[in-house]
Symmetry: C2
Subunit: 497 residues, 2 copies
Amino acid sequence: MMESQEPKVASSSPLVPLMYSNRAVLKTILECGDDEIGLFGKTVVVGGWVKSSKEVRREPMAVPLKPSEASPGPKDVTCVEMVQSRIPFFRTIIRVFGGSISSQSVREKLEPTIPKPPPPSKFYLQINDGSCVSNLMVMIDSAIVPVSASQVLPTGTCILVQGVLEKPSTHGKQTIELTVEKVFHVGTVESDTYPLSRKKLPLGSLRDSSHIRPRTTTVASITRIRSALDFATHAFFQNHGFLQVQVPIITTTDSEGFSEKFHVTTLLGSTSKKGEPVTALRPDYNEDFFGHQSYLTVSGRLHLESYACALGNVYSFGPRFRAEKTVSLKQVAEMWIVEVEMAFTQLEDSMKCAEDCFKFLCRWILDHCSQDMNFLADDHYKKPVIIYDFPKAVKPFYVRLNDDGKTVAAFDLVVPKIGRVITGSQSEERFDMLTTRIREFDLPRDQYEWYQDLRRHGTVKHSGFSLGFDLMVLLTTGLTDVRDAIPFPRTHGKASN
Amino acid sequence: MMESQEPKVASSSPLVPLMYSNRAVLKTILECGDDEIGLFGKTVVVGGWVKSSKEVRREPMAVPLKPSEASPGPKDVTCVEMVQSRIPFFRTIIRVFGGSISSQSVREKLEPTIPKPPPPSKFYLQINDGSCVSNLMVMIDSAIVPVSASQVLPTGTCILVQGVLEKPSTHGKQTIELTVEKVFHVGTVESDTYPLSRKKLPLGSLRDSSHIRPRTTTVASITRIRSALDFATHAFFQNHGFLQVQVPIITTTDSEGFSEKFHVTTLLGSTSKKGEPVTALRPDYNEDFFGHQSYLTVSGRLHLESYACALGNVYSFGPRFRAEKTVSLKQVAEMWIVEVEMAFTQLEDSMKCAEDCFKFLCRWILDHCSQDMNFLADDHYKKPVIIYDFPKAVKPFYVRLNDDGKTVAAFDLVVPKIGRVITGSQSEERFDMLTTRIREFDLPRDQYEWYQDLRRHGTVKHSGFSLGFDLMVLLTTGLTDVRDAIPFPRTHGKASN
């Protein structure tokens, strides 16, 4: 039912097109290893966004693109910007040769003052579709396919084209390129306002364009690693017989007793039932949506315990929230956390499980994301360290008191440069002791009645941990600021989408 | 490093103990099929919660447990409650026989007025650890292991025991039972207040005990199916090369333009910077945490699009929120949604993907959760139906306008009894048309500037859909109220944990 101008994959193509789209994924072309030669002569449809480009008029000169294109170094935000930095040099050549038709031109807006249409050109576009680090070189001959330089050359342009895979015409690092026969779609770019049109951009400045930055090589790599880590997390726990339980995001329970929390409310912008304005200072929570003071959850471990105390080994994976105004490279307001609870276990058991999980995730990334890891990570971290048995004042109220009466059965898994990635504990299973601890923390008793029920009725020794998923992404990618590891980071004073 | 009183698994045991705990999972004992006989004589450690029990004094009478214990019918909340309903009958027997030591007693609190210790008894406990529908019969002889009736008989009691697997001593439906040698742990129950001590409970009344209800057979089954569906979702998309992207929960963007939303704020309970009380009616959002009016997200599709427009095929799986006060069996305030976006696709492609995903999830559950499905689901749903091309007024602003100017490229996948489980669309990729639609919906332009950037720069045809994960659980379990499909449902006027 596709529109007539939409692509139909040639039946002779050996490349399996992507399900639900008739294009071939670039990864299947660029990472096929020595079988590449077998692809020469095949017709294929590909789509992607232009990362860099050049135009060669009339008699093309075989000037290779900068090598960094094919093998970009670490922390190159987009390879594109590096090519752009060469523009002044090219401009100089053009001036020297007085605009000779055999000279190279560079991407720039076609001047409206140019009196006659430009001569036919070959457009060389490096395109990327997000499936891998490498780009595919695509050649469009404007004598064959009627497109203009201003349409296809700007960085960020989207194209969907059909062509023939061939041995490269230029002596670059590319080993395959596509000669275009048909153009199905061009999504142009307003270069003046496109955030990635500027010169080489540090990761920091990209944060203001969180909706565009996945088009950079770095953020695309981070995204692939993050996605792989996500699946690896589920694979680890499901392989070990854990059940996934989605704990609530909106809660009336303060899971730690000492965190800054966000309110969830429908009171703002409303009047009371009596028609009086509600004061934010002492609102009547009976009039709020849930009839209670409600928060965004800080931790799901208490809720998860109630499932562990019925089903054994359970985990949860979801967003958790802290309204901390302090600026930190390792903490933003909204972060994804993996939480684990295991019935019939003690501190040592969850330490072992946390360690295995940590190793499994690291190994998975090395096995499944080698190209992205080569692109991103220079550093190898030293071994993580587990620290356990903390003074009771620094850990939440529910952590089990040790026999010394001073320390609690808690542990942290700490990694150089990042700090704490996992924090775990054995929970206090003794009803009386838990009651004492709730009193010591001066917490509202009625808020924890339900939680104490788990000790009142069929209590069991159990332990678990929380893994900071975003920090795990930070660690595996070698980044330093967690805002670069999260698709749309939420920080104090800032939310633009 | 376990405490000395903790279990060590006998080295002769052929049963692989659970990782991170030395107990054997009941599923591996109860669902081993014909190999059961091979387990007789083996020593094993098991843990779980008592679902039903009986005491037999001195000369044990071989009275089988009610058959429903071994093969519980649909909607039996706990089998336990059915046994309890027989208590009056047993009590009568005791009275008639004047407390004869050979008669059966029932679980009841030992009266402090009883002058001498009770004679030795055999306690028969049906225990469950959440790994499967079936229970394991565990026999404790109080002459060998010093435990009392009041400790181990109440429903909900937690035990961790070591024993020998044997052919059952009674003629029930059990094919294997455990004779206990050592008791490592007993977590007692306050029967007077235990929510599952009462007679047979309908699912509705269990909702007030969302922290305890996973101990019922029904909610345990739902949890296992939900967990399997969760993993199946990731498996489907990862198998098809989709990247998972975690879109933000806190947002300043209204993703649909017509939903009731929750505010996320730190203004409640606070005073303004000038020390004045904040009015909730017209608060100064500059003083709020993010410096903007911020909401819990209604849908992540807009954010997901920005990743699709860089990486191709992406999905997200997380909680979404609606502050709707209307009571519905299919909608609560917080629900988990799977969202999908695919670049270089049109409406038909996402319809095909949605259909495949739906079928894959159904097939997965039939393949992986057959016991739970047998227990829960009587009904077979008729085929789902896809409806497409809706009047533009009933769909969000971002859905692509068809050439007729009246309808939009949207579809719903509808299932008998449940209604809409999946809703999808092709997004409006044309900048001018999207701008017109934003104006038609009277939406604040500046809120969508970032979203329009995706059309300004390298726009691409793309489509996607949202799958109501909780409704998928409802559908596969045959339940009728979505509050029974969600671990801790959040509804208007109610939040107790």
